[in-house]
Amino acid sequence: SDSLIRQVVGGADDLLGAEHRHFELFKRRYGKSYGSQEEHEHRFKVFRRNLRRAQRHQKMDPSATHGVTQFSDLTPSEFRKSFLGLRSRLRLPSDANTAPILPTED
Protein backbone atom coordinates (compact mmCIF):
# COMPACT_ATOMS: atom_id res chain seq x y z
CA SER A 1 0.00 0.00 0.00
CA ASP A 2 2.96 2.34 0.56
CA SER A 3 3.70 2.29 -3.15
CA LEU A 4 0.17 3.64 -3.72
CA ILE A 5 0.82 6.74 -1.64
CA ARG A 6 3.24 9.14 -3.39
CA GLN A 7 4.10 12.40 -1.63
CA VAL A 8 3.32 15.25 -3.99
CA VAL A 9 4.05 18.26 -1.79
CA GLY A 10 7.32 19.36 -0.29
CA GLY A 11 8.16 18.47 3.30
CA ALA A 12 9.86 20.49 5.98
CA ASP A 13 11.97 22.50 3.50
CA ASP A 14 8.87 23.99 1.85
CA LEU A 15 7.34 24.89 5.20
CA LEU A 16 10.57 26.61 6.26
CA GLY A 17 10.66 28.48 2.97
CA ALA A 18 7.08 29.65 3.47
CA GLU A 19 7.89 30.76 7.00
CA HIS A 20 10.86 32.73 5.71
CA ARG A 21 8.60 34.47 3.18
CA HIS A 22 6.10 35.17 5.96
CA PHE A 23 8.87 36.67 8.07
CA GLU A 24 10.08 38.91 5.20
CA LEU A 25 6.51 40.15 4.65
CA PHE A 26 6.14 40.72 8.43
CA LYS A 27 9.37 42.75 8.60
CA ARG A 28 8.37 44.85 5.61
CA ARG A 29 4.81 45.50 6.85
CA TYR A 30 5.81 46.49 10.39
CA GLY A 31 9.15 48.11 9.54
CA LYS A 32 11.16 45.66 11.66
CA SER A 33 14.93 45.42 11.56
CA TYR A 34 17.40 43.69 13.89
CA GLY A 35 20.86 44.78 14.92
CA SER A 36 22.73 41.57 14.20
CA GLN A 37 22.44 38.30 12.27
CA GLU A 38 22.13 36.44 15.58
CA GLU A 39 19.26 38.68 16.69
CA HIS A 40 17.64 38.21 13.27
CA GLU A 41 17.84 34.40 13.58
CA HIS A 42 16.54 34.55 17.13
CA ARG A 43 13.59 36.68 16.10
CA PHE A 44 12.85 34.31 13.21
CA LYS A 45 12.70 31.37 15.61
CA VAL A 46 10.33 33.35 17.88
CA PHE A 47 8.27 34.27 14.81
CA ARG A 48 7.97 30.59 13.79
CA ARG A 49 6.83 29.66 17.31
CA ASN A 50 4.27 32.47 17.19
CA LEU A 51 2.96 31.23 13.83
CA ARG A 52 2.22 27.90 15.49
CA ARG A 53 0.77 29.71 18.50
CA ALA A 54 -1.56 31.62 16.18
CA GLN A 55 -2.66 28.30 14.69
CA ARG A 56 -3.42 26.96 18.17
CA HIS A 57 -5.31 30.14 19.04
CA GLN A 58 -7.26 29.80 15.79
CA LYS A 59 -8.35 26.30 16.79
CA MET A 60 -9.28 27.42 20.30
CA ASP A 61 -11.00 30.59 19.13
CA PRO A 62 -12.62 29.79 15.76
CA SER A 63 -15.03 32.75 15.66
CA ALA A 64 -12.11 35.20 15.50
CA THR A 65 -9.22 35.42 13.06
CA HIS A 66 -5.76 34.87 14.46
CA GLY A 67 -2.51 35.34 12.61
CA VAL A 68 0.50 37.62 12.24
CA THR A 69 0.40 40.87 14.20
CA GLN A 70 3.03 43.50 15.09
CA PHE A 71 3.84 41.36 18.13
CA SER A 72 4.71 38.18 16.20
CA ASP A 73 8.45 38.52 16.81
CA LEU A 74 8.02 38.76 20.61
CA THR A 75 7.91 35.93 23.11
CA PRO A 76 4.79 35.89 25.33
CA SER A 77 6.79 37.21 28.28
CA GLU A 78 8.34 40.06 26.23
CA PHE A 79 4.83 40.88 24.99
CA ARG A 80 3.41 40.93 28.52
CA LYS A 81 6.30 42.98 29.93
CA SER A 82 6.30 45.67 27.23
CA PHE A 83 2.75 46.04 25.93
CA LEU A 84 0.39 45.34 28.83
CA GLY A 85 0.97 46.88 32.28
CA LEU A 86 -1.93 46.08 34.61
CA ARG A 87 -1.03 45.74 38.28
CA SER A 88 -4.08 43.70 39.24
CA ARG A 89 -2.74 43.03 42.71
CA LEU A 90 -3.38 46.65 43.66
CA ARG A 91 -6.42 46.90 45.90
CA LEU A 92 -9.26 49.41 45.68
CA PRO A 93 -8.36 52.92 46.81
CA SER A 94 -10.35 54.52 49.61
CA ASP A 95 -12.45 56.75 47.36
CA ALA A 96 -13.72 53.92 45.18
CA ASN A 97 -17.47 53.42 45.51
CA THR A 98 -19.63 50.49 44.57
CA ALA A 99 -21.78 51.40 41.58
CA PRO A 100 -25.51 51.55 42.37
CA ILE A 101 -27.70 48.85 40.80
CA LEU A 102 -29.29 50.30 37.66
CA PRO A 103 -32.63 49.21 36.13
CA THR A 104 -32.09 46.96 33.12
CA GLU A 105 -35.70 46.29 32.13
CA ASP A 106 -37.54 48.27 29.39
Binding site: R91, P93, S94, T104
Partner: protein, 231 residues
Protein backbone atom coordinates in the same frame (compact mmCIF):
# COMPACT_ATOMS: atom_id res chain seq x y z
CA UNK B 1 -31.24 48.13 27.40
CA UNK B 2 -30.68 48.52 23.66
CA UNK B 3 -29.63 45.33 21.86
CA UNK B 4 -26.63 47.14 20.36
CA UNK B 5 -24.84 50.19 21.69
CA UNK B 6 -21.61 51.93 20.68
CA UNK B 7 -20.26 55.15 22.22
CA UNK B 8 -18.14 55.69 19.09
CA UNK B 9 -21.37 56.48 17.25
CA UNK B 10 -22.22 59.08 19.88
CA UNK B 11 -18.87 60.89 19.65
CA UNK B 12 -17.63 59.93 23.13
CA UNK B 13 -14.49 58.02 22.07
CA UNK B 14 -11.22 59.62 20.90
CA UNK B 15 -9.02 58.11 18.19
CA UNK B 16 -7.16 54.91 18.98
CA UNK B 17 -3.83 55.65 20.64
CA UNK B 18 -0.58 53.67 20.89
CA UNK B 19 1.16 52.98 24.19
CA UNK B 20 4.30 51.80 22.38
CA UNK B 21 6.80 49.62 24.21
CA UNK B 22 5.69 50.76 27.68
CA UNK B 23 3.51 48.96 30.26
CA UNK B 24 1.13 51.92 30.49
CA UNK B 25 -2.12 50.29 29.33
CA UNK B 26 -3.72 51.33 32.63
CA UNK B 27 -3.22 55.04 31.82
CA UNK B 28 -4.98 54.67 28.44
CA UNK B 29 -7.90 52.84 30.02
CA UNK B 30 -8.14 55.64 32.62
CA UNK B 31 -8.00 58.53 30.14
CA UNK B 32 -10.49 56.77 27.84
CA UNK B 33 -13.06 56.45 30.61
CA UNK B 34 -12.58 60.07 31.71
CA UNK B 35 -12.67 61.33 28.10
CA UNK B 36 -16.09 59.69 27.75
CA UNK B 37 -17.38 60.93 31.10
CA UNK B 38 -16.13 64.45 30.35
CA UNK B 39 -17.94 64.30 27.00
CA UNK B 40 -21.19 63.38 28.77
CA UNK B 41 -20.66 66.17 31.33
CA UNK B 42 -19.55 68.93 28.95
CA UNK B 43 -20.48 67.87 25.42
CA UNK B 44 -16.84 68.25 24.43
CA UNK B 45 -14.59 65.35 23.45
CA UNK B 46 -11.09 66.19 24.67
CA UNK B 47 -8.13 63.83 24.40
CA UNK B 48 -6.50 63.58 27.84
CA UNK B 49 -2.87 63.02 28.83
CA UNK B 50 -1.63 59.53 29.64
CA UNK B 51 1.88 60.90 30.11
CA UNK B 52 0.72 62.92 33.11
CA UNK B 53 -0.39 59.63 34.72
CA UNK B 54 2.86 57.89 33.71
CA UNK B 55 5.03 60.69 35.15
CA UNK B 56 3.01 61.96 38.09
CA UNK B 57 0.71 59.21 39.35
CA UNK B 58 2.42 57.17 42.05
CA UNK B 59 -0.77 56.31 43.91
CA UNK B 60 -0.19 53.31 46.15
CA UNK B 61 -2.22 50.39 47.42
CA UNK B 62 -3.78 51.60 50.71
CA UNK B 63 -2.79 48.37 52.39
CA UNK B 64 0.43 47.50 50.63
CA UNK B 65 2.97 50.31 50.62
CA UNK B 66 5.32 49.97 47.69
CA UNK B 67 2.66 48.57 45.41
CA UNK B 68 1.93 51.68 43.40
CA UNK B 69 1.14 53.02 39.97
CA UNK B 70 4.55 52.95 38.31
CA UNK B 71 4.52 54.42 34.83
CA UNK B 72 5.79 51.96 32.21
CA UNK B 73 6.16 49.28 34.87
CA UNK B 74 2.42 49.08 35.35
CA UNK B 75 -0.51 50.49 37.31
CA UNK B 76 -4.23 50.18 37.92
CA UNK B 77 -7.14 52.26 36.64
CA UNK B 78 -8.81 52.60 40.04
CA UNK B 79 -5.71 54.03 41.66
CA UNK B 80 -5.25 56.28 38.63
CA UNK B 81 -8.77 57.62 39.21
CA UNK B 82 -7.82 58.17 42.85
CA UNK B 83 -4.72 60.11 41.78
CA UNK B 84 -6.76 62.17 39.29
CA UNK B 85 -9.33 62.96 42.00
CA UNK B 86 -6.59 64.12 44.38
CA UNK B 87 -4.56 66.01 41.74
CA UNK B 88 -7.62 67.88 40.55
CA UNK B 89 -7.76 66.46 37.05
CA UNK B 90 -5.90 65.60 33.86
CA UNK B 91 -4.35 67.90 31.29
CA UNK B 92 -4.98 67.79 27.54
CA UNK B 93 -2.98 65.35 25.45
CA UNK B 94 -1.57 68.23 23.43
CA UNK B 95 -0.46 70.09 26.56
CA UNK B 96 1.26 67.01 28.01
CA UNK B 97 2.05 64.73 25.03
CA UNK B 98 2.72 61.02 25.32
CA UNK B 99 6.36 59.89 25.02
CA UNK B 100 6.05 56.24 26.10
CA UNK B 101 8.94 56.51 28.56
CA UNK B 102 8.85 57.06 32.30
CA UNK B 103 12.15 58.71 32.98
CA UNK B 104 10.79 62.27 32.92
CA UNK B 105 9.85 64.33 35.94
CA UNK B 106 6.24 65.30 36.50
CA UNK B 107 5.24 68.39 34.47
CA UNK B 108 1.68 68.66 35.73
CA UNK B 109 0.30 72.19 35.42
CA UNK B 110 -2.80 72.66 37.58
CA UNK B 111 -3.84 75.70 35.56
CA UNK B 112 -4.20 73.53 32.48
CA UNK B 113 -6.58 70.86 33.80
CA UNK B 114 -8.98 69.82 31.01
CA UNK B 115 -11.12 67.28 32.87
CA UNK B 116 -11.73 66.41 36.51
CA UNK B 117 -13.11 63.37 38.32
CA UNK B 118 -16.10 63.85 40.59
CA UNK B 119 -16.28 60.18 41.65
CA UNK B 120 -15.60 56.67 40.43
CA UNK B 121 -17.19 53.30 41.18
CA UNK B 122 -16.58 49.61 40.71
CA UNK B 123 -19.30 47.67 38.92
CA UNK B 124 -20.38 44.14 39.84
CA UNK B 125 -19.66 41.13 37.68
CA UNK B 126 -23.26 41.13 36.35
CA UNK B 127 -23.15 41.76 32.60
CA UNK B 128 -26.52 43.51 32.52
CA UNK B 129 -25.25 45.92 35.17
CA UNK B 130 -22.08 46.46 33.16
CA UNK B 131 -24.15 47.18 30.02
CA UNK B 132 -26.49 49.51 31.94
CA UNK B 133 -23.57 51.46 33.42
CA UNK B 134 -21.95 51.64 29.98
CA UNK B 135 -25.08 53.12 28.43
CA UNK B 136 -25.75 55.49 31.34
CA UNK B 137 -22.28 56.64 32.38
CA UNK B 138 -20.14 56.29 29.25
CA UNK B 139 -17.19 54.01 28.35
CA UNK B 140 -15.91 51.85 31.19
CA UNK B 141 -12.35 51.03 32.29
CA UNK B 142 -11.99 47.25 32.25
CA UNK B 143 -9.23 44.71 32.79
CA UNK B 144 -8.76 41.58 30.71
CA UNK B 145 -6.36 38.69 30.10
CA UNK B 146 -4.58 39.49 26.84
CA UNK B 147 -3.26 36.04 25.94
CA UNK B 148 -5.34 35.73 22.74
CA UNK B 149 -4.81 39.39 21.86
CA UNK B 150 -1.18 38.90 20.81
CA UNK B 151 -2.32 36.96 17.73
CA UNK B 152 -5.77 38.54 17.21
CA UNK B 153 -6.46 39.91 13.74
CA UNK B 154 -10.26 40.33 13.68
CA UNK B 155 -13.74 38.94 14.34
CA UNK B 156 -15.43 38.09 17.64
CA UNK B 157 -13.00 36.35 19.99
CA UNK B 158 -14.76 33.57 21.90
CA UNK B 159 -12.06 31.12 23.04
CA UNK B 160 -13.11 27.80 24.56
CA UNK B 161 -10.61 28.31 27.35
CA UNK B 162 -9.04 31.56 28.51
CA UNK B 163 -7.29 32.48 31.73
CA UNK B 164 -9.07 35.01 33.92
CA UNK B 165 -5.79 36.31 35.34
CA UNK B 166 -6.01 40.00 34.49
CA UNK B 167 -2.94 41.57 32.89
CA UNK B 168 -4.16 44.33 30.56
CA UNK B 169 -6.22 47.52 30.97
CA UNK B 170 -8.55 48.51 28.12
CA UNK B 171 -11.74 50.53 27.49
CA UNK B 172 -15.24 49.08 27.02
CA UNK B 173 -17.00 51.34 24.48
CA UNK B 174 -20.02 49.30 23.42
CA UNK B 175 -21.59 45.98 22.73
CA UNK B 176 -23.23 44.21 19.78
CA UNK B 177 -25.77 41.46 19.53
CA UNK B 178 -24.81 39.57 16.40
CA UNK B 179 -21.22 38.55 15.99
CA UNK B 180 -21.54 35.21 14.20
CA UNK B 181 -19.68 32.25 15.76
CA UNK B 182 -19.58 29.54 13.04
CA UNK B 183 -18.57 26.63 15.22
CA UNK B 184 -21.23 27.55 17.74
CA UNK B 185 -23.59 28.14 14.78
CA UNK B 186 -25.37 30.94 16.49
CA UNK B 187 -25.18 34.68 16.91
CA UNK B 188 -23.06 35.62 19.84
CA UNK B 189 -23.39 38.97 21.64
CA UNK B 190 -20.02 40.67 22.13
CA UNK B 191 -18.33 43.55 23.87
CA UNK B 192 -16.51 46.24 21.81
CA UNK B 193 -13.18 47.14 23.38
CA UNK B 194 -10.85 50.01 22.52
CA UNK B 195 -7.21 48.95 22.86
CA UNK B 196 -4.06 51.10 22.93
CA UNK B 197 -1.82 49.33 20.38
CA UNK B 198 -2.52 51.64 17.45
CA UNK B 199 -5.00 51.38 14.58
CA UNK B 200 -3.02 48.68 12.74
CA UNK B 201 -3.82 46.11 15.40
CA UNK B 202 -7.10 44.12 15.47
CA UNK B 203 -10.18 45.76 13.90
CA UNK B 204 -8.75 49.28 13.42
CA UNK B 205 -7.46 49.16 16.97
CA UNK B 206 -10.57 47.58 18.50
CA UNK B 207 -11.16 44.09 19.92
CA UNK B 208 -14.44 42.19 20.03
CA UNK B 209 -14.91 39.55 22.70
CA UNK B 210 -18.05 37.53 23.27
CA UNK B 211 -20.28 38.19 26.22
CA UNK B 212 -21.81 35.77 28.63
CA UNK B 213 -19.14 33.87 30.53
CA UNK B 214 -16.69 36.45 31.83
CA UNK B 215 -14.33 35.27 29.08
CA UNK B 216 -10.70 36.15 29.73
CA UNK B 217 -11.94 37.88 32.92
CA UNK B 218 -13.44 40.78 30.99
CA UNK B 219 -16.25 41.27 33.55
CA UNK B 220 -14.05 40.95 36.62
CA UNK B 221 -12.70 44.47 37.08
CA UNK B 222 -14.97 47.11 35.61
CA UNK B 223 -14.94 50.76 36.76
CA UNK B 224 -16.99 53.76 35.87
CA UNK B 225 -15.97 57.38 36.39
CA UNK B 226 -18.02 60.56 36.52
CA UNK B 227 -16.53 63.90 35.45
CA UNK B 228 -17.04 67.24 37.12
CA UNK B 229 -19.68 69.28 35.33
CA UNK B 230 -18.21 72.57 34.12
CA UNK B 231 -20.55 75.53 34.00
Amino acid sequence: LPADFDWREHGAVTAVKNQGSCGSCWSFSTTGALEGANFLATGKLVSLSEQQLVDCDHECDPEEPGSCDSGCSGGLMNSAFEYTLKAGGLMREEDYPYTGTDRATCKFDKSKIAASVSNFSVISLDEDQIAANLVKNGPLAVAINAVFMQTYVGGVSCPYICSKRLDHGVLLVGYGSSGYAPVRMKEKPYWIIKNSWGENWGESGFYKICRGRNICGVDSMVSTVAAVQTS
